[in-house]
């Protein structure tokens, strides 16, 4: 499974955080990859509409996440508008953010 997470919006445009982040589940620790796979299925990701959530009138600084997942020949993209109320999609998003933080920490570690 291949997942791409793209972030837009928020209180500031931070170029480093707005770059799409891609996760190939084969490169992640097995437990994390398994949790993500479970979460993608629990969220029925491939059955979700193209946009989840609506921006309220006058709202500002909310983050918009664009999630693209490829698995076994199928590919689907869902835009999530904050606040993400659907619990399974929210859990999926949290797992991805955690994976992102882990990768960032790893990248910051001095190489041997």
């Amino acid at each position: 499974m291949h997942i791409e997470l793209k972030r837009e919006g928020g209180i500031a445009f931070l170029p480093g955080l707005n770059r799409p982040r891609t996760f190939d589940l084969r490169d992640l620790p097995p437990a994390q990859a398994e949790a993500l796979t479970r979460s993608v299925h629990a969220a029925s990701f491939f059955q979700q509409p193209a946009v989840v959530g609506t921006a309220a009138k006058g709202a500002a600084d909310q983050t918009r996440y664009t999630l693209t997942i490829e698995e076994g020949g199928r590919r689907h993209t869902v835009q999530l508008l904050e606040p993400v109320q659907e619990p399974h999609l929210r859990e999926l998003l949290e797992l991805l953010k955690q994976a992102e933080r882990d990768l960032r920490r790893e990248a910051a570690r001095p190489h041997q």
Partner: protein
């Protein structure tokens, strides 16, 4: 430095007095009387009255109080603790008049909402975001390691930050002011949250957010840091804030966050479909124009340039799709209306826009100036500088 509400008696008598009497009090009264009179005068009803008589005004909600007729400030703050959840409203943690809770995010939000309310009340005689006493609701501890603060159209929402890139989002008073100002812009504008109008919307939030902090710290324009989100970036991040109004593009340059992309001049305007057409990117252009005008005029930025921008936001010529050039002209016209045609204020505003690459020419304003606006009696330019 204080966050405690002053609690002074506001002389409601002034509200029914003709403007020349209020001006006399402003000139000759005791310090408390002067303050109250100036606050009353601060509500410039010229354009509000015009707007109410116009077609634009006719479409707006009719029942609005005139701020100048308000007797007392009516702060109503409610801080909710989301405890890491994202389903509103969470648990009410502190409401108006209650003492500190010891939860730093709750207390910072409470104090920041108070400072923002007081700013608009004391400087512009504005009673909350809608000028009708709207309660201010903030929700803190939203989500887990949540790296953002936003305005959802009704409430302010703050994350705790992940501690690696961001600290808690209540840490910067200007960020609290920024979010609340979105509520005011929606009420007064509105300005579409897209491209140049969206960048103006963002800029207005930065400007009033910064002014809230400057007034709280009692800083003149040259003492202010003109930063948005100072203290918000976590230790180790290479940067000092989210944005710099004075020197756009210099707020951070970090391996993870990237480099601050904000342009200082129209020639570097960023055309993009991202970020609602670059609303958080190009907002630096009007931000810098404001800052330059404030530095040029000196003193407290909220007194003159802040008032000019505030009146521009309330101007009937401000359309939802307003671009930078049109907004620049409106600020220029407001400067001449408030402080006299051809005065130093108008020159400073025009010069500031010129420095960011926007030439203000009055002739190009598509709406003709209304002759009655020149009536000297309506001009607060004669008031003493307070």
């Amino acid at each position: 430095m204080r966050l405690v509400h002053p609690g002074w008696h506001r002389h409601s008598l002034y509200c029914i007095l003709p403007p020349y009497v209020v001006r006399t009090i402003a000139q000759n009264g005791s310090p408390a009387q002067r303050a109250a009179a100036l606050r009353t005068m601060a509500v410039d009803s010229t354009f509000r009255a015009l707007r109410l008589s116009s077609a634009v005004g006719a479409q707006r909600a009719p029942a609005r109080r005139l701020g100048g007729m308000m007797a007392e400030s009516q702060r109503q703050r409610f801080i909710y603790d989301m405890s890491g959840q994202e389903g509103f409203p969470g648990t009410l943690a502190r409401s108006e008049g209650q003492g500190a809770t010891g939860d730093v995010a709750v207390d910072e939000a409470y104090d920041g909402l108070g400072a923002t309310y007081d700013f608009f009340w004391e400087v512009f005689g504005r009673d909350s975001l809608d000028d009708s006493g709207m309660p201010l609701n903030a929700h803190v501890h939203y989500g887990v390691n949540y790296d953002n603060a936003f305005w959802d159209g009704q409430r302010m929402v703050f994350g705790d930050g992940d501690g690696e890139l961001f600290n808690r989002f209540t840490i910067s008073l200007d960020v609290i002011g920024h979010e609340l100002a979105h509520g005011m812009t929606e009420d007064e504008g509105p300005l579409m949250y897209f491209r140049q109008a969206g960048a103006l919307n963002e800029s207005i939030s930065d400007i009033f957010g910064s002014l809230v902090k400057q007034k709280f710290l009692n800083q003149t324009a040259d003492q202010a840091d003109w930063l948005i989100g100072a203290g918000l970036l976590a230790e180790g991040v290479q940067g000092k804030a989210l944005r710099s109004m004075k020197d756009p593009g210099t707020a951070y340059d970090d391996p993870v966050l990237g480099k601050d992309p904000q342009p200082a001049h129209m020639r570097d305007f960023v055309k993009t479909w991202e970020d609602n057409g670059g609303v958080h990117i190009n907002s630096s252009i009007p931000n810098r124009a404001f800052c330059l005008a404030a530095l040029q005029l000196g003193g407290y930025a909220w007194e003159k340039v802040g008032r000019i921008w505030y009146e521009a936001l309330r101007d009937m010529r401000l359309r939802p799709d307003c671009g930078f050039a049109r907004f620049a002209r409106i600020t220029s016209l407001c400067a001449s209306r408030l402080y006299g045609e051809g005065g130093t204020e108008e020159a400073a505003v025009n010069d500031a826009w010129g420095q960011v690459g926007i030439k203000v020419t009055r002739e190009k304003v598509s709406v003709a100036r209304v002759p009655t606006l020149k009536a000297p009696a309506a001009q607060p330019s004669r008031r003493p500088s307070a």
